[in-house]
C-alpha cells in the first residue's frame, strides 16, 4: 500500500495528529503515545518492516521519540512525546523483535521505560553508573 494512502487512512481514523512529507523519500508523522502500537502495527503490515532505530531527543519537559521505519528507499519517522517526569511508553518488541536493542539503548541513555519489554537491563552504560542519571538528557 502506498504511504500516502496509509497516512490518509490514519488521518481519517484520528490515529495520527500531523504529518509532513519531505521529498518523496522521507515522511514524518506525529502521534499520541497511546496510539504507538496500532500505528506501528499498521505500518509493519503495510510493508514498513525494517526498524532502522529509535531516536530519543530531550526537548525540555518532554522526551521525543522517533521510530524510523523503512521500506525500500522510504523512511517513515513516527514521532511521539512522553513527559520527562513519567517517561513510559509501550514496547514494540512484540511487533518487531529487532527493536530490543534500540529500546534498551534509549532506556539506558535517556531514561524511557518501555512497558512490556522483557529485558531493560544495562546495555551500554557501566554497572557502576548511578541510577536516574541519563547522559543524553540535557536539563
Amino acid at each position: 500500500m502506498k504511504i500516502e494512502k496509509i497516512i490518509k487512512e490514519f488521518m481519517e481514523k484520528g490515529e495520527i495528529t500531523d504529518f509532513e512529507l519531505r521529498g518523496d523519500k522521507r515522511i514524518f508523522v506525529r502521534i499520541k503515545p497511546e496510539k504507538l502500537k496500532s500505528v506501528i502495527e499498521k505500518l509493519v503490515s503495510s510493508g514498513f518492516r525494517h526498524l532502522i532505530t529509535i531516536t530519543g531527543v530531550d526537548v525540555g519537559n518532554e522526551i521525543e521519540l522517533l521510530y524510523h521505519l523503512s521500506m525500500g528507499g522510504r523512511i517513515v519517522s513516527v514521532r511521539t512525546l512522553v513527559p520527562k517526569d513519567k517517561p513510559i511508553i509501550a514496547t514494540i518488541t512484540d511487533i518487531i523483535p529487532g527493536a530490543i536493542l534500540y529500546e534498551r539503548e534509549v532506556h539506558d541513555l535517556i531514561g524511557v521505560i518501555f512497558e512490556g519489554c522483557n529485558n531493560l537491563s544495562r546495555l551500554v552504560l557501566s554497572e557502576d553508573w548511578p541510577d536516574n542519571i541519563y547522559p543524553l538528557r540535557r536539563h
Partner: protein
C-alpha cells in the same frame, strides 16, 4: 536534573570494540546467548552536541577506523541536506570512488579474518596482501592510509588527478584477477565449505523480523541495499547489481562479500570514466535548522545518522546507528543451537569487531571457565580436526 560532565554516549560497535558474550551450552551445543556492550563507550553522540558542524566531520571520521569514509559520507550528506546545499557533481563522484575503495578494503580485511577464524591462515595472508594495494591507493589519493580526512561539509578536500585515476584503474585490473582466483578457491576448497556451509543459519523471515542489515541480510536472500534503494551522492548514475545469496549460512555471507568486491570494482571504473570536471567543494553556511534522517550503505550494512539543528552552529542532536548493532539480534539467532566450535566463524560472519569479543564465558556442568578469543578459535580448529 544534574548536568553531566563526563562524555559518555552511545557505544559504537565497530571493529576492535570490546563486546562480551555469555553462551549457555549443553554439551557441544549452544542453548542460550547473552551479551554485553559498552566497553568502548566513548560518548560520541553527546560530544557531537558540543562541536560545530565542521568539527563534527572529524568526530564522525573517528567513530570507526575501518569504515571511516562511510561515517563521514553519511554525516556530511546528512548535514548538507540539513543546510539545503547541493555539492558539486565531481565531489559526488569522488565520494563514490572513495566509498567503494573503502568497501573493497573492508571486505578484503573481513575475508582474511574469516579465513583466519576457520584456521586457513594462508588465504588470510593472501587477502591482506591484496588489501595492501587499496591502502596504497588511499595514500596516493589522500596522503593517508587510514584516516583520509577527505570529506568535508560541502564536498571533498582533495581532487583525484588524471594520473591517480590511471593508477586506480590499473590496480582494479590487478584486483579483479585476484578476486576471480579467490572466488574459485572459495567454491572449490573443501576446508572452507565444511566450516561454513549450513553453519549459522539465518532464515529470511528472521532476518527481516530482527532488522538485519547489509551483507548479513543479503546472504539471507533479501535484496536490500541503501545504494540501490535510497541512492545518495552519485550512486544513481552508476549501474551495479545488488548481490544476494540463498544459502542463509556463513558460506553465503562469504560469497556475497566476494561478489560485492566485483561490483565495487565495476562502480569505481564507471565513476572514474564518467567523472565530470569542475569544482570539488563549495562554501556552506555555518548554521543549520531542522532535522534530517540520512543513511548510507557502509561495508557492514545500513548506517544511519539522524541530525537535528536548532539554528546555531552546533547540532542539537546527532543520532548514529551503526550496522553492527543492527546485526546483533540476528547474530544471537544464528548462534542458537550451534556447536561451540562454530562460534568464531558465526560471530565473524556478521563482520563485527573481532577484538571486541575479548572474553567468552563457557558454562559447562555448572562450572564456569573463561576462555579468551584465541583459546576458543584454537578449540574450534581442533574440534573440526577430530570430527
Amino acid at each position: 536534573m544534574s548536568i553531566i560532565e563526563v562524555p559518555i554516549g552511545p557505544q559504537h560497535p565497530a571493529l576492535k570494540e570490546p563486546l562480551n558474550f555469555t553462551f549457555e551450552v549443553e554439551g557441544e551445543r549452544v542453548v542460550g546467548v547473552k551479551f554485553r556492550l559498552g566497553y568502548n563507550h566513548r560518548g560520541i553522540e553527546k560530544l557531537a552536541e558540543t562541536k560545530n558542524y565542521i568539527q563534527n566531520t572529524l568526530l564522525s571520521a573517528r567513530v570507526c577506523g575501518i569504515c571511516t569514509y562511510a561515517h563521514t559520507t553519511c554525516y556530511t550528506t546528512t548535514v548538507e541536506k540539513l543546510m539545503g546545499v547541493d555539492i558539486p557533481e565531481r565531489a559526488q563522484y569522488i565520494r563514490v570512488v572513495m566509498a567503494e575503495l573503502e568497501r573493497i578494503h573492508s571486505h578484503l580485511l573481513w575475508l582474511g579474518v574469516m579465513m583466519h577464524e576457520i584456521g586457513f591462515d594462508t588465504l588470510f595472508m593472501y587477502y591482506w596482501r591484496d588489501r595492501e594495494q587499496i591502502l596504497d591507493l588511499f595514500e596516493i589519493i589522500t596522503g593517508s592510509r587510514v584516516q583520509h580526512a577527505m570529506n568535508t561539509v560541502g564536498g571533498v578536500r582533495r581532487d583525484i588527478t588524471q594520473e591517480e585515476m590511471k593508477i586506480v584503474m590499473k590496480s582494479m585490473d590487478r584486483l579483479e584477477k585476484r578476486m576471480k582466483y579467490y572466488k574459485n578457491v572459495t567454491l572449490r576448497e573443501r576446508t572452507i565449505r565444511i566450516r561454513s556451509e549450513d553453519v549459522g543459519i539465518l532464515k529470511p523471515e528472521d532476518a527481516i523480523a530482527l532488522c538485519a542489515v547489509g551483507p548479513t541480510l543479503r546472504a539471507s536472500k533479501i535484496k536490500s541495499d541503501v545504494r540501490f534503494d535510497d541512492p545518495y551522492v552519485a550512486y544513481d548514475r552508476v549501474s551495479f547489481e545488488v548481490c544476494t545469496g540463498d544459502g542463509y549460512d556463513v558460506f553465503s555471507r562469504i560469497l556475497v562479500r566476494i561478489d560485492e568486491v566485483f561490483e565495487s570494482i565495476r562502480i569505481i571504473r564507471q565513476a572514474l570514466e564518467g567523472m565530470p570536471s569542475g569544482a570539488i567543494r563549495i562554501k556552506v553556511p555555518m548554521r543549520a535548522e531542522g532535522e534530517v534522517v540520512g543513511r548510507v550503505e557502509a561495508p557492514r550494512g545500513e548506517l544511519m545518522y539522524y541530525i537535528r539543528g536548532d539554528g546555531t552552529s552546533k547540532p542539537y542532536r546527532v543520532k548514529i546507528r551503526t550496522p553492527t548493532l543492527a546485526n546483533i539480534p540476528a547474530l544471537c539467532k544464528m548462534l542458537e543451537g550451534c556447536y561451540i566450535a562454530d562460534i568464531p566463524a558465526i560471530i565473524a560472519s556478521i563482520d563485527p569487531c573481532i577484538a571486541c569479543m575479548d572474553r567468552i564465558t563457557i558454562l559447562r556442568n555448572d562450572k564456569i571457565e573463561v576462555w579468551n578469543w584465541n583459546e576458543l578459535r584454537r578449540y574450534g580448529i581442533k574440534w573440526y580436526g577430530k570430527h
